[in-house]
């Protein structure tokens, strides 16, 4: 299976990345692409920017481990994960997950599994910059959400009976 993991400052193009996985192949019947985008608000306050700090070598290794786990779990024909770092402004893409398979259920489930793990296990930290900060630039580290932990935990149940989100 072709697996690509990239960490980069630069923007990515979701359609180009999806096309790379399917080019020249006729065994892929489903491709799911998920793009996470920087919103312009956080808890009701408007943002001017979002900065992503990461632990470079570990992030790549950790994402690759989860891609391997996804491959063991679903019959995938290709996976691409791209995670950006640095300073992004609202409207910019943050993360891309592309999962290709023969059938849609496996592609949907693998993409969701990978996103749930990226949220809670990939060593990235978001810091928001408020647009309405008075005087000095006001920044805040984003708190981890318990709801994200719960979403990641559901995948630790044995696979088989339920694969996708309810």
């Amino acid at each position: 299976m072709s697996a690509t993991v990239r960490l980069q400052r630069e923007p990515f193009d979701a359609a180009t990345e999806a096309a790379k996985l399917t080019r020249g192949r006729t065994d892929i019947g489903a491709i799911v692409t998920f793009t996470g985008i920087c919103r312009g608000d956080e808890n009701g306050r408007s943002l001017s920017a979002l900065t992503l700090e990461h632990y470079p070598d570990m992030a790549e290794a950790e994402i690759a481990r989860h891609v391997e786990a996804a491959e063991r779990r679903w019959p995938l024909l290709g996976v691409t994960v791209i995670h950006r770092f640095g300073r992004l402004v609202p409207g910019e893409d943050i993360v891309l997950v592309v999962a290709a398979s023969s059938h849609r259920q496996d592609a949907f489930a693998a993409a969701e599994f990978l996103m749930d793990y990226l949220k809670t296990r990939a060593p990235f930290w978001k810091q928001v910059e408020y647009a309405d900060g008075k005087g000095d630039r006001e920044t805040k580290w984003v708190d981890a959400k318990q709801s994200d932990d719960a979403l990641a935990d559901r995948w630790s149940k044995p696979p088989g009976r339920r694969e996708a989100a309810e």
Partner: protein
């Protein structure tokens, strides 16, 4: 060993990384956090609530009770907020 800090742990400690040789009695990640907290005000602030701090040894997640013997690089950071 190399100790690395990320996000608000890095900001509180005031540096991204440093080389330290903890005493032999420091056996686990939890011991190491406790030892670091005694190194000065900025460390005490960073490690004031060790339960919320996550750790990695040689770039893999570990729990606070993990042994640090043989570790080349230990990192401390807040719960992750990627994706």
């Amino acid at each position: 060993m190399k100790i690395r800090y990320f996000a608000w742990v890095r900001e509180r400690v005031g540096k991204p990384e440093e080389e330290l040789e903890p005493p032999a009695a420091i056996a686990t990640v939890a011991d190491l956090m406790n030892w670091l907290a005694g190194r000065g005000e900025e460390y005490a602030h960073a490690f004031e609530n060790p339960k919320v701090i996550r750790a990695a040894i040689d770039r893999a997640h570990v729990r606070a009770d993990a042994a640090i013997v043989g570790a080349r690089e230990i990192a401390f950071f807040p719960p992750m907020t990627g994706g």
